[in-house]
Amino acid sequence: MARNRILGVVGLAAVALATGFLLAGQVKAQLLTPSNEVGRYQALVRSVQDLEKTNEASRAKIAALRAEIDALEGAAAQQSATTRELQNQVADLRAHAGLTAVHGPGVEIDLGNGTPAPDQAGGIGYLINYQDVQDVVNLVFARGAEGVSVSGRRITPLSAFSGSAGQVVIDQGPPLTAPIKVLVIGDRNRLLAALDDPASLLDLRTRQVRFQIALTVAGIPDLKLPAYDSSLQIPHVSTS
């Protein structure tokens, strides 16, 4: 009887051990893919974060260099009427190109993501995307805007909008996500009328109804727009 019991315990232990090894093997095999996935993903995220830090530092350096150049030009302009005249011309051109900070009356447009709901755009119709921002910027420029910034990024004549799935990339800046704030300097009444027109921004308005996307517009007596802080190079263009 005692011998049978010992054999029973040994048999149970052997089965438990085999089960344990099988389970451990199974767990290891199943976790291998997700662990690698996490590792790869984290490496990609770290790369993005490092590149964004470099991007931010470069843009700060560009802003500082432009301020230093402006000061040096100002000092030179004190010594010569020709230089002063040239500096005035360049100051005006820089302001129109978005290279200097400006202020004035205008409108503030706030865009916010809506609520997820089934749609034909891969389920991302509720997200604010780069085309929404592009449409708003085009509309306000068509209605006489003199300066525009998007979540702190000044728009220039060479500005381009790209991005995917709720990300908005403008020029050389890091991706922006909603809420997006568009500040516009110009004729407030004309801008407000254009933005309130039900025939404008049709795609946004349709998604506003369907996904409760936020689109709010307010007139502001004095807005401040930052200077553009990225590259404005035209290496392939020659003047005739």
Binding site: V38, T83, H236
Partner: protein, 223 residues
């Protein structure tokens, strides 16, 4: 005998339950970690983002180098150097703002279609800008910041003038990048029932003679 076997069975059941709970916890936590870190952005999007940021940072480095050179020239040269720098800067900004005729390498795209909207044209122009276009014109109308592209009952107007088909879009910039973008754009356009023909050609010299009329600021003031 039954009273001795009952505790053994209880231990076995507890051990199995513990093991199952352990495996389930490890598995669920691992999956949760993956899902948590993937919120909003997938790996492919991140890879594209990295590519974009590399390109952006290269452009920023080039701009920094250019500005440092200009600063050094201003520091060493006094008024004559300042005049030279300011003249060059004025010419460059006039080209950027579309105030002077320009030429350079690029592409010319021709789109023969009926029913295309202002939004289609704006998208096309933005795609070329993303591909690094430095100057663009459509049917000899320069486009740029402040140039209104508007949908009207008869079609599309650029700066108040109707643009009749075919649309000929000229863009100056890195010809390879522009050609890549134009290739993709014309492929997509050909799949559009409104488009009868869409093609592009790369040119060593694209000449854009049209200019934008400068508009003085009325509302904006320098800070």
């Amino acid at each position: 005998m039954p009273s001795r076997r009952r505790p053994d069975r209880a231990i076995e059941i507890w051990l199995i339950a513990l093991l199952v709970a352990l495996v389930a916890t490890v598995q669920i936590r691992s999956q949760a970690e993956v899902e948590k870190s993937l919120v909003g952005t997938d790996s492919t999007t991140l890879a594209f983002l990295i590519d974009d940021l590399h390109r952006a940072n290269d452009a920023l480095s080039a701009e920094t180098a250019d500005l440092m050179q200009r600063k050094a020239a201003l520091q060493s040269g006094g008024s004559p150097a300042a005049d030279q720098e300011l003249t060059a800067e004025a010419n460059r900004l006039r080209a950027i703002e579309g105030l002077v005729p320009v030429h350079g390498p690029g592409i010319v795209m021709v789109v023969e279609a009926s029913g295309l909207q202002a939004l289609d044209l704006q998208d096309a122009l933005n795609n070329l800008a993303v591909a690094g276009a430095e100057a663009i014109a459509i049917n000899d109308h320069r486009v740029g910041m402040g140039v209104a592209i508007v949908q009207v009952s008869g079609g599309v107007t650029v700066d108040g003038e109707q643009i009749m088909p075919p649309w000929t879009i000229s863009a100056i910039g890195d010809a390879n990048r522009l050609a890549e973008a134009a290739d993709l754009m014309t492929q997509q356009m050909r799949a559009d029932r409104r488009v009868r023909q869409a093609s592009y050609r790369v040119e060593a010299v694209v000449d854009i003679r049209a200019v934008i009329t400068a508009r003085p600021f009325v509302y904006a003031n320098s800070s």
